[in-house]
Symmetry: C2
Subunit: 332 residues, 2 copies
């Protein structure tokens, strides 16, 4: 591992995106969203995934000039068509639009169809929280998990984000409905380290912590066994109904494109004026932090706390990168 300054990583992404023909303002935002993922300790959807994204751009799967268009407005709820544009730009736009709607009526909800992988889900939660809003968003994906009691993949892992603003550091949950995200399984395949808890089945149908066995069987486990299986199904149903876009079973099996997403924002400046929301959130987080930890030297962490710590460290010391992956990007 070497470390690369944030600005250098951003500049490199920007260079490649401009070379691909992105308009400057869109290239800058896209570069920032990828760099922010690595900065916050999620390189699986930052640096490490950037070449895959560029490949999709070059294949034409991602249409770089396409911008979302409004399909239908119901008031606080709007439907947009992402027209196969860059997933991160579409998602950032739609959370922005949900925030605008929330400024008007307390809440806004934007459903988006025909979009591409939004990369790091948490980005759009941080975006809402930075704007003083509660943000809730999720996406469907191609089929990645078997339903509970089944052998075949039929469910997306449908990442879900819930974000709440907090002056000392936002509280941001960013989770796939699989016990481990694809990125996490990949890291354990490379390192050979077992997963901390069972993450799926082996070929014999037994639960295992071995990431390679799970990749072979193609049977990762949803969180909470039958519960996550049901939750993943519901997230897919709701997002495809609200957006009018594709459901998981209709999304391509080889290339994940035309996914459906939903973005909700609630404006706390309207709902909890003054410092009320900060007080409410701080009280909850303080109570959570005060729980006696299991290990003597361990700490109970709220969702997003690790990201913020990574951001602070990486801004100061540079972002850790796998040298070969960094080299790949420099050669794009």
């Amino acid at each position: 591992m070497t470390r690369v300054p944030y600005q250098d990583m951003f500049d490199e992404f920007l260079r490649v995106l401009l070379k691909c023909g992105f308009r400057r303002d869109r290239a800058e935002l896209c570069a920032r969203l990828f760099a922010d993922a690595s900065l916050d300790g999620v390189p699986s959807h930052g640096l490490n995934r950037f070449p895959v994204f560029i490949n999709d751009v070059r294949k034409g799967t991602v249409k770089i000039h396409a911008e979302p268009v409004l399909v239908e407005s119901f008031g606080a709820l709007e439907r947009w068509d992402g027209r196969h544009g860059p997933g991160p730009l579409n998602a950032h736009f739609c959370m922005g639009r949900a925030i605008e709607l929330a400024r008007q009526g307390g809440m806004g909800c934007v459903a988006l169809k025909n979009t591409n992988h939004w990369q790091r889900a948490g980005n759009y939660g941080w975006q809402a929280a930075d704007a003083g809003c509660i943000g809730i968003c999720w996406t469907n994906t191609m089929a990645l998990m078997p339903p509970w009691g089944a052998k075949e993949r039929r469910l997306g892992n449908n990442p879900l984000v819930i974000a709440v603003p907090r002056p000392g550091g936002h509280v941001v949950l960013d989770m796939a409905i699989s016990q481990f995200s694809g990125g996490k399984v990949q890291i354990h395949r490379t390192s050979g380290e077992p997963l901390p808890v069972e993450g799926g089945y082996n070929r014999e149908g037994r639960l295992t912590r071995d990431a390679n066995e799970i990749a072979e069987s193609r049977r990762p486990l949803p969180i909470g066994y039958w519960k996550g299986s049901g939750l993943a199904l519901m997230l897919d149903l709701v997002v495809s109904l609200l957006s009018g876009g594709l459901a998981t079973h209709e999304i391509g099996k080889l290339t994940e494109t035309s996914v459906s997403q939903i973005f909700m924002a609630f404006d706390l400046a309207r709902l909890a004026p003054g410092s009320l929301s900060a007080r409410v959130v701080n009280d909850v987080v303080d109570n959570f932090h005060a729980a006696e930890p299991i290990g003597e030297n361990s700490k109970v962490l709220y969702p997003g706390e690790r990201s913020l710590a990574a951001r602070r460290e990486n801004l100061e010391r540079g972002i850790p990168v796998e040298p070969s992956l960094w080299q790949n990007v420099k050669e794009l």
Copy 2:
């Protein structure tokens, strides 16, 4: 186990509620909500819990004549005060109000504070789906689970419901964020049967399937380990911010009262006119059902499928009841 006709159970609940002084229309709705829970195979929040509810009524924790009042309207989003009224009536009213808002603007969101235990969460999902709406609702609870990495209970198990209408049977997820609900743990304590998967810790801090050990340690496990821990925290933060009501750490440790809830509805008659939504949902469910099951004689079930099967059987054959619990109610 003996079986009791639905009408008899309803009549018995109605008798007791009228005796307690409930207004007739409110007694009828409340009796129906309790009877529906047992009918659908959730006696833990139907017959079995009815005496606890009546006890709360007699203690005055539940104020039988209190009706929700509007605190603030932002358009599609409204805030209501439940004034410590009967939880099932308050919740039914607020989902109804969310449905009304959805009829106007596609979606409605009602946040409720100062309410009491809503009993069976799924009832309000079925209510939305029966009205042709997607329904999403959740509640916070008193502290029932330790955060991930901690020993002490600081998190509610904050049941979450997501419901989608479907002509052949609604798809309704009704789940606590703990791996097992309190009701389920209780059933296994009585039967002595181990839980099907690990459900919490024993006193030595090891994961266990023994419901008695979990009850002793007071450390049930959230779904997905750290993921459910984060999800439970977020659900509490969002519901307390939106409602302006109490968060889990403020809810009484001995008597659960003054909980906060949220109800969202999306009107599919407006969002997916004609038979479009039925087609979308049927396609997803058919694809889910078609997944090859693990066991030769097993079936892959969507959320709500088991409830509907129980309802059909129990309407025909009567609702199974524990005779002593049925006798308790008859003596109320």
